[in-house]
Subunit: 293 residues, 2 copies
């Protein structure tokens, strides 16, 4: 790590100030310290950068040439640091998010208009992802997923209350069939399957603390929950979807809910991110906007 960057910065100040004393004051160190620093720098470079007599200090040709390329670079770094500091203090810049499709629809979109209005300088760069994502490896700042898909050692904040799944089908589908009263009855039904990255989703139910897992069959398997709902609406069979996504259809009578007493609740969606310390203002703002206690 033995880099001479700090010494170069010191040199730049001395060269522009043309005085060790003034430069030392600007840098907040002793003149003596600066003298040693420059001396060491010159010793390591084996080249004199500053010519000095008792009455004046000026860069040599070599020093002047160095300063010419050095100072714009140092200024650029200074600008970059200031930008970073504003990113810390004022919500600005891009946030890369890994979000499940469902969460994008039910969590993010509803709150986006207010968020965008409040923080016009923030750009949300959303990638829809299914299953577990390597947040850091993918270069994401945060993710919104079901709790079970959240990687270890992440900080998570709840963004939905507990959720429940609802098994639904169209009234037309049930016209010729009996309603299932027990999850095991589903084996006699057409069920719309959901494919997860790890394989087909096995439907999970629970009643009185007794969990039941069912492998379902049917005419359609998809990898997107909104397609499940569409399939149910068209009468293909029974689909499993988030309660609040189908509540409207149930109210309108377009879907019929079954096995409600068997549907367990589960923790719902969380926004999560690596590292608790020092988030950018943009990320903090997003978490504040989305989180529910």
């Amino acid at each position: 790590m033995k880099s001479e960057l700090n010494d170069l910065a010191a040199f730049a100040v001395v060269a522009t100030e043309r005085s060790f004393t003034r430069a030392a004051a600007r840098l907040g160190v002793t003149q003596s310290a600066l003298s040693h620093t420059i001396r060491n720098l010159e010793r390591r470079l084996e080249l004199q950068l500053l010519a000095r007599t008792t009455k004046s200090v000026a860069p040599t040709s070599a020093g002047a040439a160095l300063l010419k390329s050095l100072s714009p670079a140092l200024e650029q770094i200074d600008r970059a640091l200031n930008e970073v500091r504003t990113a810390r203090d004022r919500p600005t810049g891009r946030l890369r998010l890994a979000v499940s499709k469902s969460a994008a629809l039910s969590v993010l979109l509803p709150k986006l208009p207010a968020f965008a209005a409040a923080y016009p300088e923030v750009v949300l760069d959303v990638s829809t992802c299914t299953g577990q994502v390597d947040l850091v490896g993918g270069g994401f700042d945060a993710g919104i997923q079901l709790e079970e898909f959240i990687q270890k050692d992440m900080i998570a904040a709840r963004v939905t209350p507990e959720l429940r799944l609802a098994a639904v089908a169209s009234p037309g589908y049930f016209a010729a069939r009996s309603l299932p009263l027990n999850p095991r009855d589903l084996s006699a039904h057409n069920c719309i399957g959901l494919r997860l990255p790890g394989g087909p989703y096995r439907w999970e139910f629970e009643k009185g603390g007794v969990p039941v897992t069912i492998t379902v069959t049917g005419p359609l398997v998809v990898d997107d929950t909104s397609l499940v709902i569409q399939g149910a609406l068209t009468g293909l069979g029974i689909g499993l979807a988030y309660e609040d996504q189908v509540a409207g259809y149930i109210d309108q009578g377009k879907l019929v809910r079954v096995l409600e007493d068997w549907s367990p609740s589960f923790p719902g969606f969380f926004i999560y991110y690596p590292g608790r310390r020092h988030q950018s203002a943009a990320l903090s703002a997003l978490i504040r906007a989305l989180r529910v206690t």
Copy 2:
């Protein structure tokens, strides 16, 4: 001098390598040291720059933005450093010289063709100066002057052997006048005066260890020794010039030398520069090319 430039450089390496271990190897330090460094940097900036899990490291959005402005600046600094190192090892670049007119003519010019051929990458930026010059204050790398005009605490190297002055006039001038045999005889002659920055030059002679200083008068006073010679050639009177500058005219019979036994020798010209350590290759080359033992 508490600058975080070194830490920023370390951050840049980690961010591009996307690994603390590899970055540490590249920087020649322990992975542990890097971890501490980045941690401190983030603490001081109060902003997380690198997201890390046990299996991957990647810049956060803020870190990526910082890196984007940082890396070109760091590369530029690196290039600048390399240029400086070549300036040390290979004669390159500009040398700013403060040279008296006479020295430029009699010392520099004769050796310039060979020097320029040997070191095509060196540019000599010559300012002709009379009298004592503030080398450092003027931003010069070196000067060539008479010994008496060289500032204190300078390193000096002889570039001419001892010089002598010659009092000369045209044969036509002496046709109607008697030759001076003693400096005091000059008061009866037309003498071409030389004006130095500090006032008129009072002609100095010496014989047998006895110095004599004469204030001369005449129809012409100039501030440039080549004009003195021109004046003498046109028969205006007696001029004082460096022996070797008028030797040719004397051989050709265009000038006549007088008071030769009274003309003292003096140390001649020196190239001088501030600071003995770590000269640039260009300056070393120039000194080597000019110096005489």
